[in-house]
Amino acid sequence: MEFQSCVKIINEWDIVAARQLGRNVAKELGFGTVDQARITTAISELARNIYLYAGQGKVCIEKLYEGGKSGLLIIASDEGPGIPDVRKVMEDGFSTSGGLGAGLPGVKRLMDEFDLDTTIGKGTEIRAIKWLR
């Protein structure tokens, strides 16, 4: 496994800490300003979802090197209630909290790869990758 670092998400300011971590790693990998913004925004969405719906969890950032290309992996995991209907939450505009419901489908569009794994009563883990072009 390549270098990984994590931020625990417990309060709202941890979201900012997670974003900062992501931005630093993205810079180190050589991502441009637009991709840096995409990555930090995606982290912000995932971290805020943890804070809002699971209470607490963590966001880890990992550098990936695969077959000559490098990328950044975000792993957002929690032991919250889980997501009952994965298809629904991936639709634009679905929200149980009166939000815009743009977070999860937005993250999928902001990043290159997106993978959601959830179990009711056990928690949720979301992995998203941005490849450096």
């Binding site: 709202e12 300011w13 900012v16 974003r19 300003t33 637009v34 840096q36 913004a37 995409r38 930090t40 925004t41 912000s44 969405e45 805020r48 634009d92 939000g99 815009l100 743009a102 977070g103 489908p105 937005g106 569009r109 902001l110």
Partner: protein, 277 residues
Amino acid sequence: MNKLIYNYIKENRSRILDTWIQNMRNKADERLIKGVSTEVFESTSDEFVEMIISRLTEKEEEFLSLLTDFAEKVVRLGWPLVFVNEGLKEFEKIVYGGLVDQGLVNQDKLLEVVGDLDSFMTPMQNEVVNMYSQIWEKTVSLQKIALQELSAPLIPVLDRITVMPLVGTIDTERAKQIMENLLNGVVNHRSEVVLIDITGVPVVDTMVAHHIIQAAEAVRLVGAHCMLCGIRPEIAQTIVNLGINLNEITTKNSLQKGIEAALEITSRQIVEMEEVE
């Protein structure tokens, strides 16, 4: 209090202080000494030892007032609590070492002296930690207030035109403040147009976008226009990727363009004056 310890500390006060300063200077890392002159380091150390001794010699109030002053000072100087704690331990070590060296304690009295010294130092340690964290909390809450005052300023730039420049991270508390200040501002300054400038906002995620949309809607409901300015190119792209619809809000890429548009809405324009002969 053990008479022996008491007398020893009183009589060797300056020697204890010198040793203490020397030992602590070795323990203190760069960061701690840097930015603090030797005089300040020494005078603060002096106050520290003075405070410890006052616990022996003075009344409770005298000690507490010295402790408050001291705690305020070290919090301001940025001395970490660990260092302060270390200082107390060092003091104990020096006193104990001195007593033994001078042959003031013999074998059978040793335990008693150690016990006495400890029962003097331990409660004081608690008091110091307590005071330090109280002052620290006070400092943090003052900073919070200061930040809040900075969080959503409203500037009436021209008659009926108001600007809210936002700089830094927007959390839920700040988002609330933005809405409140905007609405108050519209009423108090009789604004017809308010411009929100987000050039200094590092991340616009769905939460921030949602609050901006709601604020704009609220401004519209009280009969004014709301414009969003300073959307950096990378922010524009992430907003599009998120699939957020900002069609209901007028957006301008710079504050200057925003003000020009605001003048137009209020049926005015800036003209260059002809040279007067």
